[in-house]
């Protein structure tokens, strides 16, 4: 049988194309972000001002943190619709806790988020209920709870250190931007460099196989939902610090926006594929859309919805084009 000792595997050429498209897909959102930045800078002279860019990133950081958690959940093959309401509840809890010091003001919403994530995770894993519905119910319940606790809003009279954590700067860069960047880095490490990260990918790629390969599927799922809840809680804490208030309506719509941002960033809704950098650039891209609408400065609210819907569609079209290129290149 010596004649059959060569195994044919696809050519190096298609291999290179494959890699290229994989990179473009993961970095596609960043490429679009850069192009859009240059274009916007050309059209709107104020866009490229350092202050405007800093404001843009600061404003994006809240959705950004939520999106990171959501990214883990989507890669795992699920959804978390409760994140938006959790942000709102998080700001309210932070406002209640603020008088007891910055540490408690941060810890309370964070712990609440972790608990909500735990509850979601348990219902999904142990009771085997669909993530979409479990987290949808959580969306309703948490929003109701936030309003019951706070009404419309609570002011944090003396934000002090708590407020400074959100609104101060390090070396001229806003703390929120620094925190967001740091959490991105951390998330990337967890996703790519730890067993937990590889389990998340494995479960999203093929849950049954992952189970057979000995991945602790249930535990990983629960932890991932906990993570997502925690990120939403953290985002709520920071938002409360930023605005010096607890707002029951904060975070409304984040559930779908975070999914959109992740998908624009190349995270596949089918699970198993995605990067932190991509998701983060997806968030920035969404932030840019709002910022550019503001730069236009006279678009009526009715047209704003239309415009951002079309922008969103374009971004997704480009992204899905890249995905298909990658598939066919393989």
């Amino acid at each position: 049988m010596n004649v059959t000792t060569m195994t044919h595997i696809s050519s190096p050429h298609s291999e290179r194309r494959q890699r290229l498209f994989a990179i473009m897909q993961a970095r596609g959102a960043i490429v679009v972000v850069i192009l859009a930045t240059l274009a916007a800078g050309g059209i709107f002279p104020n866009f490229l001002h350092a202050q405007n860019l800093a404001d843009l990133l600061t404003a994006s950081s809240f959705l950004g943190l939520v999106t990171l958690g959501q990214t883990f959940v989507i890669i795992l093959g699920g959804f978390d619709l409760s994140v938006g309401s959790m942000v709102g509840l998080g700001t309210v809890l932070a406002a209640y806790a603020a008088p007891y010091g910055a540490a408690i003001a941060f810890a309370t919403p964070l712990v609440a988020g972790l608990l909500v994530g735990l509850l979601n995770g348990l219902l999904i894993v142990k009771a085997r209920m669909a993530p979409f519905i479990v987290t949808l119910a959580a969306l309703l319940a948490l929003k109701g709870l936030a309003i019951v606790l706070a009404g419309e809003s609570l002011i944090i009279a003396q934000p002090g250190v708590f407020g400074h954590i959100a609104n101060g700067t390090i070396l001229g860069i806003g703390n929120l931007i620094v925190i967001f960047a740091a959490v991105c880095g951390l998330a990337a490490i967890v996703l790519n460099r730890t067993s937990f990260g590889s389990w998340v990918f494995a479960i999203g790629g093929n849950e049954e196989a992952a189970r057979m390969l000995g991945v602790p599927v249930d535990r990983t799922k629960i932890v991932t939902y906990i993570l997502s809840g925690g990120m939403a809680g953290l985002s709520g804490a920071l938002l409360a610090a930023h605005l010096s208030s607890g707002l029951s309506s904060a975070g409304t719509g984040y559930e779908l926006q975070s999914i959109a941002a992740a998908v624009i960033g190349g995270v596949l809704l089918t699970g198993g594929v995605g990067t932190v950098l991509g998701a983060a650039s997806g968030v920035v891209l969404l932030g840019m859309i709002e910022n550019i609408i503001n730069q236009i400065g006279s678009l009526s609210a009715a047209f704003q919805g239309l415009t951002s819907g079309i922008f969103l569609l374009l971004a997704v079209l480009v992204q899905s084009g890249l995905t298909r290129q990658r598939r066919t290149a393989s």
Partner: protein
């Protein structure tokens, strides 16, 4: 190290998958586990690896009573399996798949990528595979994926390794690689349970064999005390009639091709099918042969329109297909059975009846409304014709054994009353009895004047089933031969020759085509 299975039973609702099964496995032994489709082999393995739990009986490892809650526990106790269907993570790299759960770490928590790639390369090399461990698994062929899956299990340091139809996706050289691995493990004192429908493999590898029939252990004996006829009789519960001897039978030569049923001219698809031309006559059975990844599957898919060809023409009975999609091909009398049953064949969660009738619904529909009566009649006809064993046509497809699922899919392909059938490895994972039935069906189809294009991962099977074989290499047709009077070895030699010829031609006259 010794594994004892003692009077184990397991039911799924009303179906008793295992009724009374006992077996034992010693260190350094290869035990063949055989049986018809649905005999309960996979079920037993799932129980041994903690994917399912038994209802009765007990399992002992070194005399210690065990019952695993999940595969991880089984793994920790030294039992690991490679399943019939490949179970890896397609979107991740080869190295990650190999080292999932046990990657080398730096600073305790962080995966050391470099070390992981290095270890993966070493591991693959040890078993004779030279693949870049950084490649995404999805980009490798099914056979290679299966090998990686085996290597992973082996490298986990299991003391009992279960291989459930490991060769069903392998061809030629890979089977050799696998034999090498199995023998090496035996030398290392590892116990192996080897499940296969390929009797010759079992005779080549196994020390002892255990046969299951309808969830009961029928026979256990050393290989040398179990001649083929006796083994087959134990599996089927009866003697196999002379013309059913699939693996040894001699093909009855069918009528010579009068007019072409299928004509393919200059078909190309993305560099993986290159300028393929072939014909299949009416009443002719043509085999597509080639090594793993030679492009058999893609050629069939390009003909079928599932991978829309970039160039070339396909004609059925002289009638050129305008633009091909699976739907239009079916309409023109061309049908195709995929090799990948799980992800391209069955409709999970739906019933046997739905699965069987999917392709022909539009034929029995009037104004878009489906006639229940014709649907049921049609389904019953094929259940009978193909001898499909199930608890009824309303049974969920997943409750059928792999082999019976395959028969349902063949029924689906035939239900459109095609004039050309393309079957990509139709007997993969199918027991001897059913295999003979499928062979007989294929011959009947040919006798009725249909053209058949077929592949198989077993070259001998292809040789004895077909009238003519078209040889493929890297998507090129490199030759053609009639099969009567030839053996599998002849064909391998011809493929090797064709490869060499193509390689040298490519150097000298690049644009010249090979036939």
């Amino acid at each position: 190290m010794q594994l004892h299975v003692h009077h184990v039973a397991k039911s799924f609702g009303a179906v008793a998958a295992l009724r009374d099964v006992s077996l034992e496995l010693n260190a350094g032994e290869v035990l063949g586990l055989l049986g018809e489709n649905g005999a309960g082999k996979s079920t037993l393995i799932k129980i041994l690896t903690g994917l399912d739990t038994h209802d009765a009986g007990d399992i002992r490892l070194d005399g210690r009573l065990v019952r695993f809650a999940n595969p991880r526990q089984a793994q920790e106790n030294g039992i690991a399996a490679v399943y019939q269907e490949i179970n890896l993570i397609p979107e991740r790299s080869v190295a990650e798949n190999l080292f999932l759960n046990r990657a080398p770490k730096r600073a305790r928590y962080f995966i050391d990528r470099k070390a992981m790639l290095r270890d993966a390369r070493t591991l693959l090399g040890r078993y004779g595979l030279s693949i870049d461990p950084g490649r995404t698994l999805r980009t490798l062929g099914l056979g290679t994926q299966q090998l990686i899956s085996i290597i992973r299990v082996v490298s986990l340091g299991a003391r009992v390794v279960i291989l459930d139809e490991p060769t069903s996706a392998l061809s030629g050289n890979e089977v050799e690689l696998l034999y090498g691995i199995v023998r090496k493990l035996r030398e290392e004192g590892i116990g192996i349970i080897y499940v296969s429908h390929r009797l010759s493999e079992c005779y080549a590898l196994c020390d002892r064999m255990t046969v299951l029939r309808d969830g009961v252990m029928a026979v256990t004996a050393p290989t040398r005390d179990l001649p083929r006829a006796k083994l087959v009789a134990a599996m089927l519960g009866r003697e196999l009639a002379a013309d059913e001897h699939a693996e040894t039978g001699i093909s009855v030569s069918t009528s010579a091709p009068q007019d072409a049923a299928l004509t393919v001219r200059g078909l190309s698809w993305r560099g993986r099918v290159v300028d393929v031309s072939l014909t299949v006559g009416r009443g002719e059975i043509v085999g597509l042969a080639g090594l793993l990844g030679s492009g058999r599957t893609e050629t069939m898919k390009a003909i079928y329109g599932a991978s829309p060809p970039d160039r070339g023409q396909v004609a059925v009975r002289g009638h050129t297909l305008p633009h091909s999609t699976p739907a239009s091909s079916l309409g023109s009398g061309l049908t195709f059975l995929s090799e990948d049953r799980r992800s391209e064949g069955i409709f999970p969660h739906l019933s046997l009846s739905e699965n069987l009738s999917a392709s022909m619904l539009s034929r029995i529909a009037r104004w878009g409304v489906i006639s229940r009566k014709s649907q049921n009649e049609m389904v019953d006809r094929y259940l009978l014709r193909l001898g499909i064993k199930s608890s009824g046509s309303g049974a969920p497809i997943e409750s059928l054994s792999g082999g019976n699922q395959q028969k349902v899919l063949i029924g689906r392909a035939l239900s459109t009353e095609p004039s050309i059938v393309m079957l990509d490895d139709p007997t993969r994972g199918i027991d001897v009895g059913a295999k003979a039935e499928i062979h007989r069906t294929i011959r009947e189809l040919a006798a009725q004047g249909l053209g058949v294009l077929v592949t198989s991962s077993e070259l001998p099977e292809l040789v004895e089933l077909t009238d003519r074989i078209v040889l493929l290499d890297e998507g090129h047709v490199i030759g053609e031969m009639t099969t009567s009077g030839h053996t599998a070895e002849d064909i391998l030699a011809k493929i090797a020759h064709g490869q060499n010829a193509r390689a040298s031609e490519a150097v000298m006259v690049p644009e010249k085509e090979t036939t």
